[in-house]
């Protein structure tokens, strides 16, 4: 039966708790929060990279936009010049045009302010070599001074500067100049003639003081518009060449032109160079500045206008193109995302853990309830039959069922005692179970320890006298303690009954109580069978009984001392033993005065 109880005990009260603890460490909760962390980090990285990519796109878009804007600006400027030329064409078509009417015409345009880049706005007269003389005299009349056509090398058609505004010292010197004598001009002039369209020359040099020109070469352009004889057929190149009479032109330095185009543009960090034709330093038409950045990003845009190719070359660094906040966006995203993912990780872990705790708690409660039920059931089921026996046998022994013979009485008494023993055993085991389940609570009260000791001795006195053992108390008269009286009584009674059990007739049990510092020492000394030294460690263990000559005769499950020790430990005290086999034992209970 003891074995069965032991097994039951172990199964329900000890192992379950251990099992519960092992599987519920919080490391088992980690997978989900980690998964969440990695997912959010992944999303964040993705978002940051996307943002980074979109920044590139934004930058490219910004640049593209700028390029587009610049291209329109350039185009519209050139177009406005072309329109200016067309206007001039109208006047130059009339036979009556002269320098005065030309000047009048030009001043209406307020070139200085409206077209500040224009260097000169004039008219070329196309003459055959045989017409040159009459042309010269016509011009001389107009200008009231001798005008000569120069150089005279041209054998085909000449295009002579007829009118030119503004009329400065430099520009007036060009009147009579045959533009066809310079190849770069001739090309553009003839293209205009042949195509009946405004033509732009290649990059050239304006006619200036040669010394100045040598020192300070300024790339320039001239734009020509053809003027044909009125009502002429212009379907073919030949017809156009036949019909050509004049050309209207504007000249401008490329720097001035592009500066006027981009006046007011905010180039913040973007450097623009415009090349006429190929990208090389010689053909540079315009430069907004040199990019200090050794490794800038570069984008180019080719522009075809009026027969010329311009290449716009942009050099920039992304930092200048995008605002600071835009640039930092991917980093912000990454930092915030990472923070968020960690916060989420912690929150998830915490919530999972609290849920786990709650479920552990619930299961512990369930376990406790099951244990309670088991205890209750055990106590009831074990006690009921034994109680039945106690009542019936007790009634016979106590005279409620008539007379019994001495022998019957003796037998019945033995049966009754045996049954009492069983009830005690059940009680001890159940108490033990309660302790192990942690359900024993100290009910502390103030009481006199000496009084309790004396009462217990009195109770055991009858037994002692029968066994011919002398119990004596020696010690302090009064001992006020604050403890669980019931438990201390159990302990003392256990020690006392043990002393009586293991002492022979004629023996002596001495109970002594003294106060040592702040601790009470209660000693129960007997001169009985004692306990061998090698067996002493086993004394306070559960369910062990030291084999000794008295064991067969005495009752006991071996729980008494284990329980007693436990009860003393609950009081922050202890029980110690001094013993010698064949001489006797002294069990000393130690109880702190204040806990």
């Amino acid at each position: 039966m003891l074995q069965a109880v032991k097994t039951l005990f172990k199964r329900y009260f000890i192992l379950d708790k251990q099992r519960l603890g092992e599987t519920e460490s919080w490391s088992t909760l980690l997978p989900l929060p980690i998964l969440l962390l990695l997912t959010v980090l992944g999303l964040t990285s993705f978002a940051a990279l996307t943002s980074q990519a979109s920044l590139s796109a934004t930058r490219d878009q910004t640049i593209e936009k700028r390029v587009g804007q610049d291209v329109s600006k350039v185009k519209s400027s050139f177009d406005s010049y072309a329109q200016l030329l067309q206007g001039g064409v109208g006047l130059a078509s009339a036979a009556s045009v002269d320098s005065v009417s030309w000047r009048r015409y030009v001043t209406t345009f307020d070139i200085e302010h409206k077209f500040p880049a224009i260097y000169s706005f004039g008219v070329l007269r196309d003459v055959n070599p045989d017409e040159v003389d009459s042309f010269e005299s016509q011009m001389s009349d107009d200008y009231q001074r001798p005008i000569s056509v120069f150089p005279r090398t041209n054998t085909t058609r000449l295009s002579v500067v007829e009118f030119i505004e503004p009329a400065t010292d430099v520009t007036t010197k060009t009147i009579g100049f045959d533009s066809q004598s310079l190849a770069d001009r001739a090309k553009a002039i003839n293209t205009a003639t042949d195509t009946n369209e405004v033509a732009l020359s290649d990059q050239l040099q304006l006619l200036r003081d040669p010394t100045i020109a040598a020192k300070d070469p300024k790339p320039a352009y001239i734009m020509y518009a053809p003027v044909y004889a009125m009502a002429s057929p212009l379907a073919t190149v030949e017809e156009r060449q036949q019909a050509i009479r004049r050309h209207v032109f504007v000249s401008f330095t490329s720097q001035n032109f592009f500066e006027s185009v981009f006046r007011g543009s905010d180039y913040n960090g973007v450097y623009l160079k415009i090349y006429g034709g190929a990208v090389n330093n010689k053909a540079i038409a315009y430069s907004s500045g040199d990019d200090p950045n050794p490794n800038p990003r570069v984008t180019t845009q080719a522009l075809q206008l009026y027969g010329q190719t311009f290449i716009l070359r942009y050099s920039f660094s992304t930092a200048k193109v995008l605002s600071a906040t835009e640039m930092l966006a991917p980093y912000y995203i990454f930092i915030i995302g990472t923070l968020l993912s960690f916060i989420l990780f912690i929150l998830t872990l915490v919530s999972l853990r609290s849920r786990q705790r709650r479920s552990i708690l619930e299961r512990e409660q369930d376990l406790k309830m099951a244990q309670d039920e088991l205890l209750s059931l055990a106590s009831h089921q074990l006690r009921t039959p034994a109680t039945g026996v106690k009542q019936y046998v007790g009634m016979i022994l106590q005279g409620f069922a008539g007379d019994v013979t001495p022998q019957q009485k003796a037998f019945l008494q033995k049966a009754y005692n045996s049954n009492e023993r069983q009830l005690h055993v059940i009680n001890d085991i159940l108490y033990l179970a309660k302790i192990d389940a942690g359900r024993i609570i100290l009910a502390k009260t103030d009481f006199d320890l000496v009084k309790m000791i004396k009462e217990s001795i009195d109770e055991q006195q009858a037994e002692a006298t029968r066994a011919e053992i002398h119990i004596v108390y020696k010690g302090i008269k009064k001992a006020k303690v604050h403890a669980d009286e019931h438990m201390l009584r159990m302990v003392f009674e256990n020690l006392l009954s043990n002393a009586l059990k293991y002492t022979d007739a004629g023996g002596r049990v001495a109970v002594a109580l003294r106060l040592k510092g702040s601790t009470y020492e209660l000693a129960v000394a007997d001169n009985g069978v004692g306990v061998a030294e090698e067996d002493q460690p086993l004394l306070f263990q559960q369910f062990t009984r030291i084999p000794n000559p008295r064991s067969a005769q005495t009752s006991g499950t071996g729980v008494g001392l284990y329980l007693s020790k436990h009860l003393m430990l609950l009081h922050e005290g202890d029980i110690a033993v001094h013993s010698q086999a064949g001489v006797g034992s002294t069990f000393t209970v130690v109880l702190p005065k204040k806990m």
Binding site: D372, S376, S379, H380, R383, T384, P385, A386, T387, G388, K390, Q391, Y392, G394, M395, Q398, F400, L423, I426, N427, L430
Partner: protein, 127 residues
């Protein structure tokens, strides 16, 4: 033991072996004894015989001892009736509840020998 009319005792106990033993004992001692096997029966029997003392077991089927106490109402309706709660369970919560509901004594069946039971009944009746 009383001299005049014998005191009436109601034993409420579901275990037959025990209720028989107790009723035999108390009858021998001269009391008028009625028996009930659960709380519901106990209420009926109590109405019938108006006991002066009830020996009440706690754990019973149909209706427990605690529920019986609640229904029986010792504080007003049946003030003056003595109740000894008699159980083989020792659940502190139950004991406290029983006292709260007006029980006079509590004793563990396993500890009470026949003589002790009689002494207890006597002293409780006169208290």
């Amino acid at each position: 033991m009383t001299n005049a009319t014998p005191s009436r005792i109601l034993i409420v106990e579901d275990e037959a072996v025990l209720s028989e033993a107790y009723s035999m004992l108390l009858r021998q001692a001269g009391y008028e004894v009625a028996v009930a096997a659960d709380g519901k029966q106990a209420l009926e029997k109590a109405e019938e015989c108006n006991p002066q003392l009830i020996l009440l077991d706690l754990r019973m089927p149909v209706m427990t001892g605690i529920d019986f106490l609640r229904a029986y109402d010792l504080t007003t309706k049946h003030k003056g009736v003595k109740v000894i709660v008699f159980s083989n369970y020792d659940m502190q919560a139950e004991i406290d509840e029983a006292y709260k509901l007006g029980a006079d004594r509590y004793i563990l069946k396993a500890w009470a020998s026949p003589r002790e039971i009689l002494d207890l009944v006597e002293t409780t009746l006169v208290s």
